[in-house]
């Protein structure tokens, strides 16, 4: 029935050919214009599971981590350059980094973080004191310890800095500030950094650091390139040759990737065009053949326009992946083309005959892609819509338009004998045995396949940037790879209370050595009040008078006036001011405060940076720890989750797609044997792909999933055509069509294996292996197995 509808349509449109061409042309032009003007969304978030899932939340939190969006600049001086020169040049370069390219440039906390800072802290110390501090202070309150401290203090007054430190000595004669130094340790956001002249300087004194912010999005390649060129100009005009400057930012990765893709596209286009041209010369050599190769372009335009109607903001990834998937659309056209060219009777009959397997193929492919609707990744759901529209369009173009273009007058040139001469018919038993051995080997190697969820590994990282990352890490420590614990609250105080809880929990554990937290110097007001109560309790029961007396008498004997330590007496007697964000900003800690506090007025977050280790993750996930108001964002955890999501998605996809395809095949063939045989190319292609990748230790990533879909879609098509051909006695054109469509796929997508870019290379490799295995499986294994069965049934 379906065949007769197709035949009738052919006859109907053959009488209205100009109208068909004009209507098709109008539709394609409109769709092409829509496609060109499509507003593509380049946000990588569409490649992550849905917004409400933990993975998406983790991703968004990681975006808020310090340094994730900043420009990091390292200045390295040569051995013979004077130390102060490095700081001078750093300042000079930082001064030239102005808007619109850079909005905020930091070279260090500044020189204000000096004496005034300690004097201020000595005054607010009671608000920060912990139980441990109290124990340490109590030990210093004996006559002997007080005398020793005052003697040391007297000796320090002789030094050049003695005069400048006298105010600090008066408010803190017993050296409580040493406990403060311990608290400041938790503010060291760059592990191997030391401060010189208020600048970030490496331990060997050879490197200085500039941390800058830019308004340009990391994905904005054009502005990113402008910024990099501008920065190079600044270096040329400001920095002498004795100092080398290197920059790391997301923009450099974007540009490296774009440049690599551009170069790759040239190579791929040349190779793939050459391949397709050779195929054209070998198998088409006609005007109608050109239309076969134009089919995927038309399908891409129409599908893109279609998906833009349903989705306001189409993901660039959907279009990119979709373009790959719609490579499948050429196959329908190839089959129609060869069916028409080999037709000895009326073309409508040839179309009718080939339409059945083509519609079968389209239905199974639609079924396979339809499974993507159930994916947790928005991009895959978008991809489902895109592919389904594309497949339907490809079907219409192949069955209705192409037969009108490939006129029968062009068809007689085809020489069946040429193909039959090259027909390969090896010994069936040996072929099947060899095939089975290969399948088992691939399945075994496939068990070694690992899933790589690191989105960064899909990017091209040039050696220069990789070396720079390594140098930065060696010089400054791994400050860009820390995990982040977010303490959230409706206001800052609530978030700070949660932050206190996090800090207490983490520091209780010996594994949590390198934590960056504001909690020791900016506890919540509640904690500060508790600290002050603790401080006041320390000086109760006459302890205050006793220590004041000690300071007076012991000080007098050394040479201090009796009033010398009045500021200390006031501190232990009077009220203490609270530590606030504003106060920390004033004394020179604005940078660290702004790095670790995100407060938009509606919601506040206080960040704690922790080593990205399983121990810390386990510590935060411990059942005893109350995690309310706490989010943990870790690159490692994120990678693991994405890996698992990809693996789960892949397995689910394979299972669901297989089920749908098998059900459709059962429905279409109503013969189990044919169903199993049709699946041979799919099983072979997939097993070869995972086997070779597993055996060679190549990780399976998101792009390989897309390639796997292509292999499934094409593989089942090859199977259907071959089974239909054998069972219905179609002519040799079917084998030829399968062979040619396989070769076009390899020429079109296998050429991607030549790409330097990991994502393109991944797709190319998978397609090359998968389709490379599926074609011989369809052309050799199916006939070998099916013919045998026919013989048995004949007997």
């Amino acid at each position: 029935m379906m065949s007769s509808i197709v035949a009738d349509l052919y006859l109907f449109f053959s009488h209205h050919r100009p109208m068909v061409f004009v209507a098709t042309l109008v539709v394609i032009v409109i769709c092409a214009l829509t496609f060109v003007n499509l507003d593509l969304n380049e946000n990588i978030e569409s490649m992550l599971p849905d917004r409400k899932t933990a993975t998406a939340l983790n991703f968004r939190l990681l975006q808020q981590a310090p340094f994730s969006r900043k420009v990091i600049i390292n200045l390295n001086k040569q051995a013979d350059t004077h130390g102060t020169e490095l700081v001078k040049i750093t300042d000079r370069l930082a001064a030239t980094m102005t808007p619109p390219f850079f909005t905020r440039v930091v070279t260090g906390p500044g020189e204000s973080l000096s004496l005034e800072f300690f004097s201020w802290f000595a005054n607010v110390y009671p608000s920060l004191i912990t139980g441990e501090d109290i124990k340490s202070i109590e030990q210093k309150l004996t006559a002997e310890k007080v005398r020793k401290a005052l003697n040391e203090l007297y000796a320090k007054l002789l030094s050049p800095e003695g005069s400048a430190m006298k105010n600090l000595f008066q408010v803190d004669p017993l050296g409580f500030r040493l406990n403060l130094m311990e608290k400041l340790r938790f503010l060291n956001i760059i592990p191997k950094m030391r401060l010189e002249n208020g600048h970030f300087i490496s331990p060997d004194g050879k490197n200085a650091l500039i941390i800058a912010e830019t308004p340009f999005e990391i994905t904005d390649a054009e502005r990113g390139r402008e910024m990099l060129i501008h920065f190079q100009d600044l270096i040329a005009s400001v920095v002498p040759e004795t100092i080398s400057v290197s920059m790391i930012s997301g923009h450099r990765y974007t540009l490296a990737n774009i440049d690599a893709i551009k170069k790759d596209i040239v190579i791929i286009l040349i190779c793939s065009s050459l391949g397709i041209f050779i195929l054209f010369l070998l198998f088409f050599r006609s005007f109608g053949g050109i239309f076969v190769f134009l089919t995927p372009i038309c399908v891409l335009c129409i599908a893109a326009a279609g998906v833009s109607v349903l989705y306001r903001n189409v993901s660039a990834v959907t279009i990119g992946f979709g373009a790959v998937l719609l490579g499948i659309s050429v196959d329908f056209a190839v089959h129609v083309y060869f069916a028409l060219r080999s037709a000895t009777s009326n073309p409508s009959e040839a179309i009718a005959q080939v339409s059945r397997p083509i519609v079968f193929c389209a239905l199974t492919t639609l079924g396979a892609f339809g499974v993507l609707f159930f994916s947790s990744l928005p991009v895959q759901r978008e991809l489902a819509v895109f592919s389904i529209i594309g497949i339907c369009v490809a079907l219409i173009l192949a069955l209705i338009l192409l037969p009108q273009v490939v006129r029968r007058t062009q068809m007689h040139k085809y020489n069946e004998k040429t193909y039959n001469k090259t027909k390969f018919q090896p010994a069936r038993k040996w072929v099947i045995c060899l095939w089975l051995v290969l399948l088992v080997t691939c399945a075994w190697h496939g068990t070694k396949l690992h899933f790589d969820g690191d989105l960064r590994s899909l990017n091209l990282v040039p050696d220069e940037i990789r070396d720079l990352e390594n140098t930065l890490q060696r010089t400054w420590g791994n400050f860009r790879g820390t995990a982040v614990v977010f303490a959230e609250g409706p206001d800052l105080q609530t978030a700070l209370e949660t932050n206190d809880r996090i800090f207490r929990h983490l520091t209780r554990n010996p594994n949590s050595s390198r934590i960056v937290s504001l909690a020791p110097i900016l506890p919540s007001l509640k904690t500060q009040e508790l600290n002050r109560q603790r401080w006041n309790a320390l000086w109760s029961d006459g302890k205050k008078e006793y220590v004041n007396q000690l300071l007076t008498t012991q000080g007098k004997s050394i040479g201090f006036k009796s009033t010398a330590f009045e500021p200390f007496a006031k501190l232990i007697a009077g009220p203490t001011p609270p530590v606030t964000v504003a106060a920390l900003r004033t004394i020179g800690l604005a940078e660290i405060v702004d790095t670790l506090i995100i407060d938009d007025g509606k919601n506040a977050k206080v960040l704690t940076l922790v080593p990205d280790t399983p121990e810390i993750a386990a510590l935060l996930n411990h059942s005893d720890f109350n995690r309310s108001g706490i989010q943990f964002a870790s690159q490692n955890q994120f990678r693991q989750t994405i890996s698992k999501a990809i693996a789960d998605d892949f397995i689910h996809f394979i299972l669901k797609a297989s089920t749908v395809i098998i059900l459709l095949l059962v429905l279409l063939f109503r013969n189990l044997k044919k169903v199993v045989l049709s699946l041979i190319p799919v099983v072979t292609g997939i097993l070869f792909m995972i086997g070779v990748m597993g055996g060679l230790g190549i990780a399976f990533n998101l792009f390989n999933v897309v390639a796997a879909i292509l292999i499934i879609g094409l593989g089942v098509d090859y199977g259907i055509f071959m089974v239909t051909k054998i069972s219905q006695g179609l002519d040799a054109a079917t084998e030829r069509a399968v062979f040619v469509s396989g070769l076009t796929t390899i020429a079109g997508f296998g050429a991607l294996v030549l790409a330097r870019h990991p994502a393109l290379h991944s797709i190319g490799l998978s397609v090359l292996i998968g389709i490379g295995a599926a074609i011989p499986a369809a052309l050799v294994i199916i006939p070998a197995m099916y013919r045998k069965k026919i013989k048995i049934s004949d007997e």
């Binding site: 130390g83 020189e111 004496l115 002789l158 030094s159 800095e161 005069s163 040479g559 006036k561």
Partner: protein, 210 residues
């Protein structure tokens, strides 16, 4: 008669200074700075004893210390206190080391890491190199006396004003070296350092600064 002259001078010297026109003052200053620069340019090394008096409101008595200062061109300096206790520091380029005689503690560090050492060495090196361009950026410089030269430096930055009211520097008659420095703080405390037995361009062993 003598006291009258002194009183007259004290009363009218400021008026005399103020009475000068801007360009006269500037010319005068430049001449003095040139003189200091000319003398300083001939100094490769110097060493001297010093006597430091700290007048601090928190102490009953003036804190007196004695020691020795060594200077060599290319940013080398040694400041050692020998009385009442031994301590000090040595600077060689951007590297520095300090020691405390009683405890035997030594510490090696970068000059830029310790603000006080940095400011101190900057002052010594600026004067030794007669780097008036740099000094003028940080201080308003007044000439208190021309023979021998005495200058007063008033800090410009509000940050520095918190710790320093003024610096008074007295030169030797031939302006070849600094004879005394007074550091006055905003609260009235001050430190006076007198440099004695100065020896210029005598060879100094590099090990002194390491």
């Amino acid at each position: 008669m003598k006291p009258v002259i002194i009183i007259t001078l004290v009363l009218f010297l400021p008026a005399f200074v103020l009475g000068q026109t801007g360009s006269e003052k500037s010319d005068n200053q430049n001449r003095i700075f040139s003189e200091i620069a000319r003398s300083a340019s001939q100094v490769e090394t110097f060493s001297c004893d010093f006597l430091q008096e700290k007048h601090m409101s928190m102490l009953d008595n003036v804190l007196i210390s004695k020691g020795r200062l060594y200077f060599k061109r290319n940013n080398r300096l040694r400041w050692e206190i020998n009385y009442p206790a031994t301590s000090g520091f040595a600077v060689n380029g951007d590297q520095a080391k300090r020691w405390e005689g009683d405890t035997g503690r030594t510490q090696t560090f970068k000059v830029n890491q310790v603000p006080f050492i940095k400011v101190f060495t900057e002052q010594v090196f600026s004067w030794a190199g007669a780097d008036f361009k740099r000094l003028k950026k940080r201080y308003h410089i007044q000439v208190l006396s021309e023979t021998p030269i005495r200058l007063m430096l008033l800090p410009i930055s509000p940050q520095e004003k918190k710790y320093l009211a003024n610096l008074r520097i007295s030169f030797a008659t031939d302006a070849s070296y600094v004879k005394a420095v007074e550091v006055h703080e905003p609260d009235g405390d001050f430190t006076r350092i007198q440099f004695l037995n100065t020896v210029i361009n005598h060879p100094l062993n590099d090990s002194l600064f390491n």
